[in-house]
Symmetry: C2
Subunit: 211 residues, 2 copies
């Protein structure tokens, strides 16, 4: 298993921002202590995605934080970042692993114990499980119960992160579930001060979840 | 240089068809003598693109015709097809070549002599040059003159194909220009009988262009 700190996993959404403002916000989140960053772009061309990935990678590299690219293994390889995240509509994990090699990070999304076991068996390094709460980031949100989250943590030996509408005010629901960390999009991305928001969420995780 | 027959290069558009009808049409085009096939999908998820690529690849492999995937190097690698086609909004050629290796086919789009020289110098195996005529396949079509097409043929030693609204009735405009072949989308894809349409276009190329 790779040494991978998924504790405070920041997933970006550049949609409403200028590139300058977006990069400023990513930079602030890194200063606030996020331990992993995922660049998630759905509307850009491949070349635009690559260009932004390189700029974000400069920031994450300076902070010593791995950068994960959502969906696009070609962009991840071209930008020479640390990993790729694959949802259920993206490349199958085992095929991506064959292409990408053993040393790179491959994350997966799982909504059920069955999906979690399959992703692990096919080579996923960590899992994002949710959505725990409804989220504005995705149009159609399928919720995953905290019971299922707990079952997934018990079913696989890799880090499991909770995702979906999580913030400092509601992470209490995760108490006692042996997750490795929390994924946050809006709670950090849309905050007035992403640096402060990352710190507040990190402190709340320590206090309420003991992680 | 690779042995690559770009003479009658069929570029697909599955948009209006059921999968069954689409595959039937690709199969017919192969029977009609197309020498190269490009799968071009813009709206599908990565997994859907991969799934379709595998099905088309079965057909092209049976026909002994290489399959090229538009834009997505990850899909091309995952489906283990013969090549990838990269436009100006896709991955840079040299980066794709580094990832994909020397033995695979990488095609590029060029609209100017400068773009053609750059694509060749960065490792492209062939060029698609156009649009020669306006096309319904792309919303914003930037036309390339036959003079520029001729200049590009003279500027690079790799196969140059003309593309954009070409069919048996209008390829006369290419007469005397040393192209390696013609790219066709609608002329074959939307024909009542794609097999017959491929044959008619092929015959017209022989007769009018001597290729």
């Amino acid at each position: 298993m790779k040494t991978l700190d998924t504790r405070l996993y920041f997933i970006t959404d550049s949609t409403p921002y200028t590139e300058e403002e977006f990069l400023r916000r990513v930079s602030a989140a890194l200063k606030g202590g996020v331990t992993l960053v995922q660049l998630r772009e759905k509307e850009r061309t491949t070349r635009e995605y690559l260009s932004l990935a390189r700029k974000v990678h400069e920031l994450t590299s300076s902070a010593g934080v791995p950068l994960i690219i959502d969906d696009r293994l070609d962009v991840a390889m071209a930008a020479q970042v640390e990993g790729v995240h694959l949802g259920q509509s993206d490349l199958p994990i085992d095929i991506a692993r064959r292409i990408y090699g053993e040393d790179k990070i491959i994350g997966a999304t799982a909504k059920t114990v069955e999906q979690a076991r399959e992703a692990y068996s096919k080579g996923a390094d960590y899992l994002g499980v949710g959505a725990i709460f409804p989220t504005t980031t995705k149009v159609k949100t399928i919720l995953t119960s905290t019971d299922t989250l707990r079952d997934i943590c018990a079913a696989v030996p890799i880090p499991v992160n909770a995702i979906g509408g999580l913030n400092a005010g509601n992470i209490d629901v995760l108490k006692g579930i042996p997750i490795a960390g929390v994924c946050a999009v809006s709670a950090i991305m849309k905050a007035d001060d992403p640096c402060e928001a990352a710190r507040v969420l990190s402190d709340a995780m320590k206090e309420k979840l003991g992680i």
